[in-house]
Symmetry: C2
Subunit: 497 residues, 2 copies
């Protein structure tokens, strides 16, 4: 059995990558389980060294060039985009290493004994082997060595990644680079492993040794993985980050800059051939400013073209656009994609706000370069539409600037629906910083309290344990009285940095 | 339809408490949903005032006396225990209010814009109405006004509690006291509500407006609630804290104090008629010191007696003990309970370590005053038993003191299995402090990263949201640049207290 590596620009098979047999999956998982105590026992600084070694290795010239070449052939995302994504991937690995070393994620809390309470010391401990089912659309930043892998290793968990069928050769190359770099850096064998193939992915999620799953992809795929996990004897957390319609609301005063907003909207929803999980799928614009037509004009003027990642995505895109039309949307503009390969027509649809009802297909994601524009007559109609929306990863308000009186209210209404609300920024673009939140209410994710990007991404792979009245010899270094690792701690209720 | 209030000491019905109709459940939930924005928008200091008002009200003399009287009749836990539990309940409410005001739970994180990243500001926001399905065994501390209710309100969420069928009249009284106190303190109507009856509980969990569930009770009950929640259109988190066999391991050197340990073990497993979720259900003792017989002797000498909470618990206890015997355990000592009511025979069973295999009934909880003692021949046999254990809330090591060379290894082996590992303390007794962890790996809980006691209990009822490039007017006070609430924050990666 093989994963087929295709050239997305032509649709032809360029390589066959063997998938993992059940025995191979068991073997990779067993190695991860065997490595787990050593990965957990390593200091955050040691784990940062490993991550830096992987980061350096993927950025090393021959490897980087080969990775970009292979990934570009498999994804057609373009060398420029992939080159910068590879830098991001490496920088992310370093960032998670730094977050681990800063060590607030351990949440060390010490309560000395009192007359009525015992000595209690609490910290986060690693969960154990993590299965990473990466994204199609970011082979580097959200792939086998993406945010999930970086944050899991930083938090002390071995990772078994599954190769993505949209870029199996890239995945295998990344794994080779990582495995070599980790070995050279002295990481335990099994700290990182890769399996390939659909059945291997399911076997991975069902493996008793696997303690958590991180998934990035479609709602259908994410919920399938979540169902596998809740059928286990020991249910494990599935952090599935799934695609959503990320709404953008334009205030009335923002109509003064419709041209700029229309161009920005087109740029955002066609970025990466519309294959961003934060793609703005719906623009809600005040009626009376001809916004739909101006978005269509902006599309014609930008003439974005590109390929989708796989034949499956390409065919789902075609039927998805047809479903949106069937549900009442009307094609307002279309730019045909390239003649060959898995190309996609960039498409703007217009829809009546009254048709945006709870449960409508119009309010579900269509992966690819398509977006809806709807005009709202007044605040009442806008509120009705916003109440119909599903949970989403992100939302934006496009305003007339900092003094726009509508912004506070709209931000307040959108925040409960999303993980991130932006003002005068497009939802695409997810910086990896301390304050980032890449997640959101069900069904944007299966775990609304988690983030898959940013410093808090480590939290997903730990759980708290409290040591009660334990002698110094039985305490982990992080909990010892003299604080040998010099960690930020809370002692007797007081935060100490 | 009514919940029947029984006198546990006689088994007779002493009152009938009407259960909620479907319309009444809808009404209570609708009021909670209507209150949610105001509860969320209140400052932590305002919410602390509400919680203090409730705490003061339950401790107010006539109310306190009536609560203890009614609860003692329904639970037979005794006035002394219930009087101190009521104080604990009130102190917990105050504690969660204080934790809210300290406000680290908001995890305010501010990243100023850089050349490559936008201004990002992240904080935790309340989830919305929380359903609280409290415990049978602690009518006050884990009941309608227990840890779950206190931490949910402190975190900004309205609560709808379900009356427990083991103490419906106590639940109703608590709700009346709380509702009056909250109204007097100026809390929004709907900040707290109560429903009664089995069907009402299920309707509550399935209500679209309910955003999270906190449950304390049996594994069977907790998993049933969890299943209801994962069948919803919008799946919500269920924080179910369920009963477990909390293992106690005695080191070889600790044999020198077998008598003290035997007496302590009996005291711990018969506390509250063995109805603690942290009851030590299994003592693993070194062979050759006659520990089982000495535990049996300690039981005869202590002669603990008491009643179980309900007829159902009483009958499950009888069949549970029979199942343990059927699975290979042998009765080594038994102290008959009182002749009348839902009494229970306190029982010590001995079992061969070799019979403690994964999946055995011997490794599942039996709620009530029963515990197993098993002797291990050597470290190898001990390790095999420990590897067979399910996840648990707590575990203890009984040692020969701080210098016992076995302690560090045993603590290290037990920590991955539990939420809390104690040394020379019994697992019963769960202080509510900053460093407490009351939770544990599946199936001890459905949510191993959560705690239902201690400062981190608030975390269960919030999720993060990031504001990106938002003008000051659209930011919540906690995120504003001048930090008007003087909160601990992380700014540009640096922790500031």
């Amino acid at each position: 059995m093989s994963d087929l590596s295709h050239d997305a620009r032509t649709g032809t098979v360029v390589a066959r990558i063997p998938t993992s047999t059940p025995e191979e999956v068991r073997d990779v998982v067993a190695r991860a389980a065997a490595a787990a105590p050593a990965v957990a026992a390593a200091t955050p600084a040691e784990r940062r060294l490993w991550l830096v070694a992987v980061a350096d290795a993927v950025q090393d010239s021959p490897a980087a060039a080969e990775l970009v070449r292979v990934a570009d052939r498999e994804t057609a995302l373009g060398e420029a985009r992939l080159t910068s994504e590879l830098v991001r991937c490496a920088d992310q690995l370093r960032f998670y290493g730094d977050v681990g070393v800063e060590a607030s994620y351990l949440r060390v809390t010490v309560d000395h004994a009192t007359d009525t309470t015992p000595d209690l010391r609490r910290m986060q401990v690693p969960l154990g082997p993590v299965a990473v089912l990466g994204a199609s659309n970011f082979p580097f930043a959200f792939g086998a060595l993406g945010n999930d892998t970086g944050s899991a290793i930083a938090a002390g968990c071995p990772v078994v990644a599954k190769a993505h069928p949209a870029h199996p050769q890239t995945s295998a190359l990344l794994a080779t680079v990582a495995t070599t770099a980790l070995a050279d850096a002295g990481a335990p064998e099994g700290a990182f492993g890769l399996v390939a193939g659909f059945e291997a992915g399911e076997a991975l999620v069902r493996s008793p040794e696997v303690a958590a799953v991180a998934f990035t992809g479609s709602q259908r795929g994410g919920l399938a993985v979540w169902r596998q996990a809740i059928e286990r004897d020991v249910v494990i957390p599935v952090y599935a980050e799934m695609g959503t319609v990320n709404p953008v609301v334009m205030t009335a005063a923002a109509a003064a800059r419709t041209e700029e907003i229309a161009a920005g909207f087109v740029g955002s929803f066609t970025l990466g051939a519309g294959q961003f999980c934060t793609k703005p799928g719906l623009l809600l614009a005040p009626a009376g400013y001809d916004v739909p037509a101006r978005v269509a004009a902006a599309l014609q003027s930008a003439r974005p073209t590109g390929w989708l990642l796989t034949e499956g995505i390409s065919s789902a895109y075609g039927s998805g656009v047809a479903e949106l039309v069937g549900a009442g949307a009307e094609v307002l503009g279309r730019v045909p994609g390239p003649a060959e390969g898995w190309s996609a027509d960039a498409t703007v649809l217009v829809v009546a706000a009254a048709d945006l009802k709870p449960g409508s297909r119009l309010l579900e994601e269509c992966f690819g370069p398509v977006a809806l524009v709807a005009e709202y007559a007044d605040q009442h109609e806008l509120t009705e539409v916003l109440e119909a929306l599903q949970g989403a990863l992100a939302a934006s308000v496009m305003s007339a600037g900092a003094e726009d009186p509508e912004t506070p209210h709209l931000v307040g209404v959108l925040a409960p629906l999303v993980g991130r609300v932006a003002v005068d920024d497009w939802p695409t673009g997810v910086a990896f910083t301390w304050a980032q939140q890449h997640g959101g209410p069900w069904p944007a994710t299966t775990f609304p309290s988690a983030t898959s990007v940013g410093a808090a991404a480590l939290d997903r792979f730990t759980r708290p344990v409290t040591w009660q009245s334990a002698p110094a010899s039985a305490l982990p270094p992080a909990l010892q009285e003299d604080n040998p690792w010099r960690l930020p701690r809370r002692v007797d209720g007081e935060l100490m940095t």
